[in-house]
């Protein structure tokens, strides 16, 4: 229904545009180039939209062929330079075949199951992960659009105000210092915005943090005791993800306390102090569970780097 409404709107708009353009009743004040562009656009897209609207039950190749021939004859009628015709045909074919193309690219089928595509989190029973933000699994279209706007416009403007070199240095230093007392590993990820694919999938901050945990290799620790603290600026979310080795020895409430505390301090703008304190608290937990007394030989290869993707 909604799809049809969109098609009606598009087709009507394009037909009106084409009529206006060809009748010459285009407001003179408007630039000529704009008029030409509208004309071409309506000729290219109009037939596809119209035919998709009028004959939705036709098989796709027929619809494609008909709309292509209409477009080409329209272009001829309008005395378009033949280069336009040559350009338009493959372009339109590609546009119409987009879905088939991607199906072919994926080897004949759409990918059935990838972990990142769906919202469910598997096997999280023994994994501690908390977020100081409302969790959201499915988002409506408007929510998605709003999130895209926030992520792509506002967040980059803000990022320079909180992510500074001194902040990074302070975090590096604190992680290195606190790392002497325990065998765990602490990761800090400061992220201004998400990639758009993640927004379109409607992930919650927690699912996103989990993916980040995977990507950063925070799971790659000898005793499964990596902890990831992440600030997701555009989502206004703070997440703490702990691997199963540490999560089974610490009760989930404590992670929540750390996340809530950090999120409250970030809301007051005290990023550095809040982060350093969160690192200290996580380090204290790690020190209690994995003290560095027994084996300190395998401490090599410690490279805790806060990243800003």
């Amino acid at each position: 229904m909604q799809r049809n409404a969109r098609r009606v709107g598009l087709a009507a708009l394009l037909v009106v545009g084409a009529l206006l353009g060809s009748q010459g009743s285009w407001p003179d004040a408007w630039p000529r180039a704009l008029r030409r562009e509208t004309l071409w656009a309506s000729m290219l897209l109009g037939p596809i939209a119209l035919i998709a609207l009028l004959f939705p039950q036709w098989p796709k190749p027929v619809k494609l062929a008909v709309s292509l021939s209409v477009t080409v004859s329209l272009l001829h009628l309008a005395n378009a330079p033949s280069i336009m015709v040559f350009l338009a045909t493959p372009l339109l074919a590609l546009l119409a075949m987009r879905r088939e193309w991607s199906k072919m690219y994926h080897g004949g089928r759409r990918p059935k199951s990838t972990v990142r595509s769906d919202g469910e989190t598997r096997a999280s029973a023994s994994q501690g992960e908390v977020a100081a933000a409302p969790s959201r699994t499915t988002a409506s279209r408007w929510q998605t659009i709003r999130r895209v706007i926030v992520h792509s416009l506002l967040a980059p403007l803000l990022s320079g105000r909180w992510y500074t070199r001194t902040l990074q240095q302070a975090i590096d230093q604190r992680i290195a210092e606190s790392g002497r007392g325990h065998l765990g590993r602490i990761f800090v990820a400061l992220e201004t915005r998400w990639p758009v694919v993640d927004i379109r999938r409607g992930l919650s901050p927690l699912q996103h943090a989990r993916n980040r945990f995977s990507e950063m290799g925070a799971w790659n620790t000898e005793r499964n005791n990596g902890v990831l603290i992440q600030i997701q600026m555009a989502e206004r979310a703070v997440t703490v993800v702990a691997d199963r080795g540490i999560a089974e020895r610490v009760e989930p409430r404590q992670w929540q306390v750390i996340a809530d505390e950090l999120s409250a301090r970030c809301a007051r703008g005290e990023f550095q102090a809040g982060l350093l304190e969160a690192i200290d608290r996580v380090a204290a937990l790690l020190r209690a569970c994995f003290p560095a007394t027994l084996a300190s030989a395998d401490l090599s290869g410690r490279d805790d780097i806060p990243v800003q993707p």
């Binding site: 080897g107 990918p111 059935k112 199951s113 990142r116 096997a123 994994q127 995977s214 990507e215």
Partner: protein, 168 residues
Amino acid sequence: MNRWRRLAANALGAWWATERYFPESSFERIAARIAESETGHRGNIVFAIEARIGLKSVARGCTPRQRAEEVFAQLEVWNTAENAGILVYALLAERAIEIVADRGIARVVPDPQWSRICLDTAAAFARGEFLAGALTAVDALSGLLRQALPALPDIPRENDLIDRPVLL
């Protein structure tokens, strides 16, 4: 393979390959075999098939091995109780098979055994026996796992990961 040949292989190779070589029925048979084998040991086997990898990452110099490690992270094969997840990754365009094993199992099994399984599977795929090759690989891996981490009778095992082959 140098970079240009790899680019060409990933752009032009293995079109419609997953459909032809791994039809739905063989997906189900591999899944059944993995599920069956996992009753006998405490490891986890994940089978991932990819037709080709993106040209951008090939141009950046991403080898099949690196891609396999990426997939290992992405599919959360690391997320098992005893760190005994094994990923079998097949990249059809470059005819590459990679096996990535988590530390819990990798430190028990010596390297030549992994590479032997890898070579056997690659040879079977080169002969065109895709289903048979995949099933043999699963059997060989579950043999290794059965030796290293046999199932304990009293503890019910949690099956953390998907048995069904993953199409990327």
